[in-house]
Symmetry: C2
Subunit: 211 residues, 2 copies
Amino acid sequence: MVNSTLADILPKVKSSSPEPRRRGRRTGESGTRDAILAAARERFGAVGYGAARVRDIAADAGVDPALVHYFFGTKDALFTAALELPYNPAEVLASALPGDPEGFGERLATALVEAWSRPGASSALAALLRAAAAHEPTGTATREFVETVMIPTLAGAAAPDEPDLRAAQAASQIIGFMFTRFVFEVAPASTVPLEEVAPRLGALLRHTLRG
Amino acid sequence: MVNSTLADILPKVKSSSPEPRRRGRRTGESGTRDAILAAARERFGAVGYGAARVRDIAADAGVDPALVHYFFGTKDALFTAALELPYNPAEVLASALPGDPEGFGERLATALVEAWSRPGASSALAALLRAAAAHEPTGTATREFVETVMIPTLAGAAAPDEPDLRAAQAASQIIGFMFTRFVFEVAPASTVPLEEVAPRLGALLRHTLRG
């Protein structure tokens, strides 16, 4: 039920998860992968990102947990594949961390814009955000991802006074931009070329996190 | 169809529209008001805020356009009543305009927090935002409201260099905050007392509009 609702809403965009390495039996490999994805959508949808355990997803799919890691690597990557985004948001966030904290906002904005520019990204994002807003389980999974991955990562680059509040405000800015550009398509937020977005969003994130 | 979907999604919150003045016939007054609201929801949902004309809504409801103005005042107020928010967003935006432009961000944040603190406001906002994200016609109406009312009002208080982009960014911040607090309920955005939100949001809006 939950699964079919999610599957109905989410677009069929190529997953960013790597191709399975060519080892072991070939027969049924894509069937196994699809069974894991279906179980992951069901469980992420039902109990949220935090409470969904890889070993439970594996059990639901009738496979060994090692196969989940074989196909998808980490739980983050499985979450991403289940929601069909053509990039891994946790990796995009983490990619901006190395380097001078003062430049984190600009690096993050550049990385976000690069991710949003990938083929299929804008429609996948719009579908995910719509599902997150309208569909309680997807919203719960999204909230938990923001709370347990996004805000802690942002807080790691924030100034030491109230880093969590700064991070929450920065997360809210990113989410607000995604809704105005990809869901509501409000001009001029939706009409400015993405490459012009990076310096503006970067300056704003820097001010929020470090100013 | 559109109407029933909207009516299913939106909460039954007391409208902010004034009580009808006690003149003219009493009998059927609430029936007439409800018929106008139903026609307004249908038409705002079907064609959006901008294209919906008061005289068409009146015709749909089988009443004279003067009756729409009698019950609801302006088209803005009718839109608000149709979406059941316990405040008029256009009025909240406009209320912050008088005074020093440098202080607009803080005045707007204070006015928004006052509006969000009204009984039923948070659930009504969540329902409206969910509907706007998931339900194409409501999303269209919301986008048009943001483009034709919200951003122009914000731009009126922005610094003269790129006021529209500043206004779009400020609108995106307000929308992002509403989604993180009222829809996704992301901590700490959702747990900070609203009265502590005003100075932070105000400073951010000032920076975005004037910095």
